[in-house]
């Protein structure tokens, strides 16, 4: 590893964090869709949905948090794409810096931006009646899973960020990810779904992740679900990271 890696990454992270602070609209547009969905489900559809849970907002918040992350990482791809296009990326690459720090700064920025968005969404959920008796350990567990999921999707977002031809193209890959929670246990019980849909819902990554977070919030034992959830997160993370680094190497040599 280059001896300047940590220092250069910190400098470049500072740069992108300034972007977020100076254009808070990126956080607002990230959270607006999940918050609107949450309010719709809680105050419009929620009354008609039977989940066996005492409070619908408690039931569906984990899914909303995943949608928030999926919505947030489209900005990760967008920011990376804009750096590539503006020429500042080439300036950095022609300078005596640790070359991988350019990418790592974007990844860490994505993590920070998503944690801010998640905090805003949880804040709104509290206003909408979300309550949890979870202790510190359970909250840390939730945070850990959300961070892991954010990192996995961030590395996934790096790929279109590096390879897209237009800013819209860079961000568009996030839309299917935002819909994935609807085909899971995030909003309704999977038992209510027709056969093939149910089979998909029960075997895609969102269901075990949502179930685990829900169990942590409601202080239920998480069972083996947490291992499946972690395996999905780590699996996506590793595969996306490998492909992102291949794309990156292709771009800089």
């Amino acid at each position: 590893m280059n001896r300047h890696f940590l220092g250069d990454t910190a400098v470049l992270l500072g740069r992108s964090l300034r972007h977020i602070i100076r254009s808070p609209d990126t956080v607002i547009t990230t959270v607006i869709t999940p918050i609107a969905m949450m309010l719709m489900f809680v105050y419009v559809f929620g009354g008609a949905i039977r989940t066996g849970s005492d409070s619908y907002v408690n039931y569906m918040l984990p899914g909303i948090l995943l949608i928030t992350i999926a919505s947030g990482i489209s900005y990760t791809a967008f920011r990376l794409f804009m750096d590539m296009r503006s020429g500042i990326f080439e300036r950095f690459q022609s300078m005596p810096i640790a070359r991988s720090s350019v990418l790592w700064a974007h990844v860490l920025t994505s993590l920070v931006a998503n944690l801010i968005s998640l905090a805003v969404v949880v804040g709104v959920a509290l206003l909408a009646g979300f309550r949890s008796g979870a202790g510190v350990g359970a909250w840390l567990g939730v945070a850990g899973i959300l961070i892991l999921f954010t990192l996995a999707l961030t590395w996934l977002a790096v790929i279109p960020g590096l390879t897209a031809k237009s800013p819209d193209g860079a961000g568009a890959f996030a839309y299917p990810l935002m819909f994935l929670p609807f085909l899971s246990s995030a909003f309704v019980l999977t038992e209510t779904m027709p056969g093939p849909v149910r089979a998909f819902a029960e075997h895609q990554p969102v269901t075990p992740i949502v179930d685990t977070i829900r169990d942590l919030f409601t202080q239920k034992p998480v069972g083996t679900g947490i291992w499946i959830a972690l395996a999905w997160c780590v699996g996506i993370l590793v595969v996306a990271c490998v492909f992102a680094n291949i794309s990156y190497r292709r771009r800089i040599s």
């Binding site: 020429g87 300036r91 300078m95």
Partner: protein, 318 residues
């Protein structure tokens, strides 16, 4: 045809050239962009790589600045091989690419501090302030770059390339997309660099730009250098001087600069100011500069007038 007329370099190479390129080749799939490029740039010289769009200028610059790998040939910058000693090359150079590589969301000063930090220099703040002053950007230093004019953006871009005083600077089409005033501002800056001993390789598709700035000019055409020499040497390639009297018409650029007053203000604004009214233009984001800078530019800003002696060349060359 001008094919393969070459002029041997005349500079002495006691220290070795700042840039040495031999047999450079690069293809994108079937397209052969560079087909054996050779040239040298002496230390402290300004070398112009002149060529039309698609001639391979940017590809050559990208290889020299370690952003691309050549398919064949060797290139040394500041004595270091671009393929095997890329890190040393990056210590020795800076690149100002075709599009102003500045961060629009940061201020001008923050951009300079960012580059100084990434070059691991001490006192990044002081370096930034010095460069802002040198490039007449001190007043605009705290403003977001998004509010800068094209010329200011380019000057900041070049200022960012000077952080840490790298011995070799690449300027890839430094005036592309700039209005006449912006171009004159950039020319001024490049001329100043020459006085400081920095080696500059610039690419351009404007003949007058090469003529104004460079002490050696190479013409890159379809992936090969077809002519390489000083301006005087290049002129000698053409038929001998024949005196002919030509009525000198003002170019549209000269008309434009005369009408707008050569500094980006239109007449009404200038008259307003001369009336003693409104001098709060500084903050409106249009990129005005102080009067001193404007004076400097006027001295040698415009294009050289076409004289009887030089007018013949273009005519006879046809």
């Amino acid at each position: 045809m001008l094919a393969a007329m070459s002029i041997p370099p005349t500079t002495d190479q006691v220290q070795g050239p700042a840039i040495h390129v031999q047999g450079l080749e690069k293809s994108y799939k079937e397209l052969r962009v560079l087909r054996g490029v050779d040239f040298e740039v002496a230390r402290g010289g300004i070398f112009a790589l002149l060529g039309s769009n698609g001639a391979g200028k940017t590809t050559a610059v990208k290889i020299l600045s370690t952003l691309l790998r050549a398919d064949a040939g060797t290139a040394r910058v500041n004595g270091f091989d671009v393929a095997t000693q890329a890190a040393d090359v990056r210590e020795s150079i800076s690149l100002t690419g075709q599009f102003a590589a500045v961060d629009e969301i940061l201020s001008g000063r923050e951009n300079l501090v960012l580059v100084a930090r990434l070059r691991h220099l001490e006192n990044p703040g002081r370096i930034a302030d010095d460069l802002l002053a040198r490039f007449s950007l001190a007043d605009a230093g705290a403003r977001k770059v998004a509010a800068y004019s094209g010329g200011m953006r380019r000057r900041l871009d070049i200022a960012m390339s000077l952080v840490g005083n790298p011995p070799v600077i690449f300027l890839d089409e430094p005036t592309a997309g700039l209005d006449p005033q912006g171009r004159i501002e950039v020319w001024q800056v490049v001329k100043e660099l020459a006085g400081r001993g920095t080696t500059v390789l610039l690419t351009t598709q404007y003949l007058d730009e090469a003529e104004q700035l460079a002490d050696r000019i190479a013409i890159l055409h379809r992936g090969r250098i077809i002519v390489n020499g000083t301006l005087e040497e290049l002129k000698r390639l053409l038929p001998p001087v024949k005196v002919e009297y030509v009525e000198k018409q003002p170019t549209l650029e000269e008309v434009f600069l005369a009408v707008v007053g050569d500094d980006g203000e239109d007449r009404e604004e200038r008259e307003e100011r001369e009336d003693g009214k409104g001098r709060e233009n500084g903050e409106d984001g249009k990129g005005r500069e102080n009067g001193e800078d404007r004076q400097d530019r006027r001295k040698d800003g415009g294009r050289p007038a076409i004289t009887a002696a030089t007018a013949r060349t273009s005519k006879d060359a046809r």
